[in-house]
Symmetry: C2
Subunit: 474 residues, 2 copies
């Protein structure tokens, strides 16, 4: 039975997306243009992502710090490419109280400048290296068109900023963190991603190279999901971050940065959710089991509470819905909110010695013995849901990945069904730009481990240098 | 042996404070005027406070949300007293990208306006009440004079915003959250606080009443440490937050807000720390035990690692300092950073079947059997440190609390030794303002449970209505 508050996914994907966001109470529009409110369900999901990633960052040796939110224009301007890239998107504070400021201050669009400035004062010797810092923060980019989670003027993110003694170490860090993101997407969000290097045109302003993980949404549109940048010594030179090396020479540090944002919530929705609302992988769901007593019998409520207690003691997050509403209403609410498992406790079942588990991903109901090991049963079911979601998403992603050898093929494919377009490329920007004429296709990443096989550029037909994944993007 | 990088506390308290902040690497100045950088140690302390308070908020039924950081001027202006109170302190965004904005946007100084605006759209019936929301966020108040943690232009905090069906419920919430803060200060920060209602003059802009917890620093200066506000229906009327009551009438909600900030780190420093740097109560210390192997013997390093493993498994956060520096250097570093317990593992001790525990609060060293139950020994020591810190701070606070009956007594006391001044008051603002002439004394709070005994106002000598705590403030 379809949830009536949600537009059909195949009918109008954009409207379906917004309906899911609203129906699952993840976010709502605010009176501030381009900014949304993270409601309790959306905020809890972000907290869970944060907690998981933060643990992974700490396990790889990183520490958290917090830098000021405002950046003086002069400081921002020290590295030319960065300011050029971000100036059109900056929000500027020009007044403090009733006075005009002498120098305007940018609301941070990203914090390379502040970290670099700080490092330049702190680092003196190779003994001070590496510095492996991260911060969780809000940023602003003054976007014209916005959509909850995917693109908003203010968003929440983390930004890692590290400095190293050698190029090798910095490059290793860049790829290590790309890999942390990849693991997080696959193991926790159950989202298969491809990874690789961005082209010169698509890389981050100021970076020597940018690495990315890219996910494919249900409708075949690509989403850049997290990025990791290698800066070489660019910022070190602009901000004068020098250290006395082991050879007692003054050297510039090698630097990286890497970030992931609330946009990941958008990815979760557009990969897993369905006609009935949100679907969440159990490993990232803030609430994992909804226990619904059927009827108001005191005995039933007591049994429901007891199951909840047992589950919570084993670190499975469950809650009992004791509100004054019909079971049907409660089922629908747990469903639209994406709770992975529903546990129904009803008199008829109990008399037969049973309880019922329902899984959100397939809708399947399973009757189990009321005295069974409930922790084991729920854990097994959650593992199965987690695996099933990753598998389904991988199949969909593979079905929507198309190899094209000519522009004609690209044209036909993108108009029939968008998806990842795998095509070879000569490496010149003219050819890259040419593809934009086909519904705005951009390069997603260079598939570095993928050998050239066809040998010809999809645009110009000259010898190809790279195997590249292309796609329409959010 | 005194740490030489730290000014003596009795010589220059303000300089001592800054020296402790810097030496313990809690925060550093930034290139952004009035804003500091939270370095790893300071940020970890904030994370620990956040985690503890967040658990207490969730246990009392609250959920986290996140509101936009920018507030349109027209929205901010809807409640007259709030804008009047905050306008002189707002930072204003007037440009987005290269365009001037039609309406300027305030960087949130506090978020009553956004929560009220949101609630007005969401709440329809008494069934939607209460809403018990909190957010963790950065705020800006454009201060002229700043000092790390105590007063900075940008700071981090949490702000709870709740709405209720009845006056009684909202007032209960206001006092419940005041009590949560009080418990947190006493049980975790080991800081004794007094609590009570603010006078009309000192209450929050827009509140019907403000409740506060007030701590006394080592030097006798008071610090407002957290506040809880009862708004009645003021914002409800300004922002039109109405609901259909149980009697099917449209009613305005009753509202509260409550907040605590990174300023709490300042309180920790100024209450517990000493000539050798930071002192932290074990229950709030991000790192609780520093294990220091004396000598490079492999066997010793192995034993040190093993103690660390055992402690960490029992949720005692320990680390082994294996860096290439002398034991004396490592001792001093653990000390200046406020690690509550130091565990020394050395060959001479081991040969005698011993290891050494040193406590940060008293400097005392205790030899214990190397094969004893280390978890039990450390837990007992930490309990003792926690209790000792609270006790010492309570004795100091009591020693620095003075009862004054006349302005002459106030004058003499405040010039001899500042502290909490307990004095009776007639309730008129003229008398309250008169006290400001004595080194800026302000009312801290009305001691509601404290009976009038002397019967005369400390200023005018007329009959007193309130027993009030006064003091110089940060």
């Amino acid at each position: 039975m379809k949830n009536k508050s949600i537009t059909s996914r195949n009918e109008d994907f954009a409207k379906w997306y917004t309906d899911v966001v609203m129906a699952a109470k993840l976010a709502d529009y605010s009176s501030v243009k381009g900014c949304v409110i993270l409601e309790p369900n959306g905020n809890a999901l972000w907290e869970k992502m944060k907690e998981t990633l933060d643990r992974m960052f700490k396990q790889t040796g990183h520490e958290n710090v917090y830098m000021p939110v405002l950046i003086p224009e002069s400081l921002l301007k020290k590295e030319g490419e960065l300011i050029e890239g971000f100036a059109p998107e900056c929000a500027w504070v020009t007044k403090g109280g009733s006075s005009d400021l002498d120098e305007k201050l940018a609301f941070r669009p990203t914090s390379e400048t502040l970290f670099s400035d700080y490092y330049s004062k702190k680092v003196k010797s190779y003994r001070d290296l590496p510095k492996l810092y991260n911060q969780w923060a809000n940023v602003i980019r003054w976007e014209k068109e916005t959509r909850p989670f995917l693109r908003t003027r203010e968003f929440l993110w983390q930004e890692g900023h590290t400095i190293h003694e050698t190029e090798k170490e910095a490059m290793e860090e860049t790829l290590r963190m790309l890999n942390v993101y990849k693991t997080f997407f696959i193991d926790y969000l159950a989202i298969p991603v491809i990874s690789g290097k961005k082209t010169e045109k698509e890389k981050f302003a100021g970076a020597e190279s940018t690495y990315t993980i890219e996910a494919l949404m249900y409708n075949g549109v690509a989403l850049q999901s997290a990025t990791s940048h290698y800066f070489g010594q660019k910022f070190a030179k602009a901000y004068n971050i020098k250290f006395l090396s082991r050879e007692e020479k003054w050297e510039y540090v090698y630097q990286t940065s890497w970030g992931a944002t609330t946009r990941m919530i958008g990815a979760l929705i557009m990969v897993h959710s369905d006609e009935n609302g949100l679907v969440l992988p159990p490993k990232i769901a803030p609430k994992q089991v909804a226990i619904i007593p059927i009827g108001k019998d005191e005995e039933i409520v007591k049994i429901a509470d007891n199951y909840s207690k047992i589950l919570n003691q084993s670190n499975i997050v469950s809650y009992v819905d004791n509100t004054e509403r019909s079971p049907g209403f409660k089922f629908a609410e747990a469903e639209v909110n994406g709770i992975p498992v529903r546990l129904e406790v009803g008199m008829r079942d109990l008399e037969a010695g049973k309880i019922t588990l329902a899984r959100r991903d397939t809708g399947e109901k399973i009757q189990i013995d009321k005295d069974c090991d409930i922790v084991k049963a729920v854990n097994e079911l959650m593992d199965d849901i987690q695996n099933n979601l990753l598998q389904k998403a991988t199949i969909r992603r593979d079905e929507l990945t198309f190899v094209c050898k000519t522009l004609d093929e690209v044209d036909r494919q993108i108009n029939k069904q968008p998806g990842f377009i795998k095509a070879e490329w000569c490496g010149c920007q003219e050819c890259e730009l040419k593809l934009k004429e086909y519904r705005g296709i951009k390069s997603r990443c260079i598939l570095e481990d993928d050998p050239i096989s066809f040998g010809k550029c999809v645009v110009c037909g000259r010898p190809s240098k790279f195997s590249v994944m292309w796609g329409i993007q959010y």
